[in-house]
Structures are given as C-alpha cells and as structure tokens.
C-alpha cells in the first residue's frame, strides 16, 4: 500500500499528481495495489475511476496517522519534519516531495539532507514524483539511527548540576 501524507498543510499539486493516471499506472506496474491519501487542508479530491487502476481511499485529517504509516509499504510525504521523522521511525520506505510554492523553502534543505544520507528518496517538486517513485521502490534505504539522548542528558547535567535521569 502507498500512503500519501501532507500533514496539516495544503499541497494540492501533490494530491493531483498522485490522482493522475500516469502515477497510478506506474505504481501498479511496480506492484502496488492500494493507495491511501491524506490530503490535509487541500481542496483537491481524488477522483473515482471506472475501472479503478488502484484501490483508492482518502481522508483529510486524523489525530494520529500511526495505523496508515505502519501498514504502508511506501510512504510518500510532504517535506515536513514531523511527517518525515514519523515515517523513518516506523522504518518505512520513504519518498519525500518538496512543495516549491512554499516561501523560504527549508523543506528543500531538510529533504536534501535526508536524501543525501540515504534515508529516503526525494522529488524536488510534484512533477518529479513518477521518476522518484521508480527510484524509491528499488533503492537501498539507510536505516534511520535510533535517538540517543545521553549527550543531551550530559549537557543538562553540566548546566544544572543534577543528572536528569536516575
């Protein structure tokens, strides 16, 4: 199953791209059969194809996306830090899509940094999604290292004079 998420943002260009015949046909060729789309605050709605290319479900917002994340074999996410880290922490195969219409695009910096380290595949804008999809399905992903709070605890201890943990 491919899970598409835009968090609490509006990213209609991405939703339109995954709604396209070309994207869905390519996904089908790569072996995917289901597509779940979380479209956030966007206004584009997935169309009902007859006959359907993929089984499509969609919704706007949910308090937690854990269920969708944990059952996806590929997560296609906007480049928000929260969504990226949630997918990586669940060890999901991840494809990050940057929204070029956002001002001050720190999203691009973050996506590139994650991509360079091999944690995910990346599309610099929605039209590059099909090419990135092929790469994402095949690439060898680097596992995202576990969090280690010990250096942080050491800093707290140096600052406060008391260790934060027992």
């Amino acid at each position: 199953m491919i899970f598409v998420t835009v968090g609490t943002t509006s990213f209609d260009d991405l939703i339109k791209e995954v709604d396209s015949e070309s994207f869905q046909k390519q996904a089908k060729e790569l072996g995917y059969t289901r597509l779940v789309v979380q479209y956030g605050r966007g206004s584009h709605r997935m169309c009902d194809r007859e006959p359907p290319i993929l089984e499509v479900e969609s919704f706007d917002l949910k308090p937690s996306l854990e269920d969708e994340m944990s059952s996806a074999s590929l997560v296609v996410s906007h480049a928000g830090a929260g969504s990226i880290i949630e997918a990586l922490r669940q060890n999901r195969r991840l494809l990050v899509v940057v929204n070029p219409s956002l001002m001050d695009n720190h999203q691009l910096e973050l996506a590139e940094a994650m991509y360079r380290r091999g944690f995910c595949a990346m599309a610099a804008e929605p039209h590059q999604l099909p090419a990135a999809l092929a790469e994402a399905a095949k690439m060898q992903m680097q596992p995202y290292p576990p969090a280690d709070l010990r250096p942080w605890h050491k800093l707290l201890e140096e600052t406060c004079g008391v260790a934060p943990t027992g």
């Binding site: 720190h106 008391v162 260790a163």
Partner: protein, 160 residues
C-alpha cells in the same frame, strides 16, 4: 514534538518542568496530554503568555501588545525563578528570552539559556536562532553542517 522528545527520559522528581505557551496556541497542551499524560497531570505547570503580535497587526498596536507580552513574561519568570530556559524557535520565545535576560540583570541570577534550533535548519539558522545566538549558553543544532559554520553550535547526535 521536538521539545517534548527532549524531555522523554527526564525524571520529574529531579527536574521540575514548567511549560510556557502562547495564548492562541490550542494544540500544544493537547499534544502534551496525548503523548505525555504524566507531564500534563499538573496543569499549574502550564503557563500562558499573550502573543506579541498577530499577523497583519499594525505597528503601533504591535508595540503595545509586545510590551504587554514582555511584562507578562517578566512577571512569570520572576515567579518561576528558573535555572534553565529551554526554547525552540518560533517567535513566542522572544518575550520570554528578553524577560529572562532582564531578570538575570536585575535579580543577579544566572539563568542558563539553551536554544534548540529546528531540525529543518541544515545549512543556515532560523531568524530566532540568529537573534538568540549571541545570548545562548548552549545552542543545539541537528545537523553537523551547522557546527562548521557557527562556533557556538553543538551537534549532539540524533535526539528524536
């Protein structure tokens, strides 16, 4: 999410944590209640400060509301008498940081200011980061690239 992750293993018996939120922030408290109900048990630890400025607010009224926010923070800082101020980035933190700096001067107290930059900042600092950098006692970043550019910045590995 980023701030709460830093408190994940902090023992509440050893460290007393007080949380400061902007008045118009309705989601942060809910997030704490959902992910860390143990921290949210004592609601007296959650303090609300007025927002300095709303988007589109005029300059003249912004001056007044910023001053009000600053005074509210000063009162709060005086009452809480913290050893450490941990801030993350959005503009909400400015009046608190300013209040703590003034508090240090007039109360002759040392407060350690720890600034945690956003994980999205890989090559450059945020506006808050740049402004608070000279005053921070510890300045944490999440990408080693920034340590090369900013001498004070510390990269402590992956924290969440």
């Amino acid at each position: 999410m980023e701030m709460l992750s830093l408190l994940k293993e902090v023992d509440q018996e050893r460290y007393r944590c007080d949380f400061i939120m902007a008045q118009t922030d309705s989601s942060s408290l809910k997030k704490v209640q959902a992910t860390r109900p143990d921290l949210a048990k004592d609601l007296t630890r959650f303090h609300v400060i007025p927002r300095s400025r709303e988007v589109g607010q005029s300059w003249s009224s912004s001056l007044l509301t910023t001053a009000q926010a600053f005074l509210a923070c000063l009162g709060l800082v005086w009452e809480l008498n913290p050893q450490v101020l941990l801030v993350n980035g959005p503009g909400t933190c400015f009046p608190v940081v300013a209040a703590v700096l003034l508090f240090e001067l007039i109360a002759f107290r040392r407060v350690s200011l720890i600034f945690v930059e956003s994980v999205c900042r890989v090559k450059s600092l945020s506006m808050s980061g740049k402004l608070i950098y000279p005053f921070a006692d510890a300045f944490l970043v999440h990408w080693p690239e920034l340590v090369e550019r900013y001498a004070k910045a510390q990269y402590l590995g992956i924290l969440f």
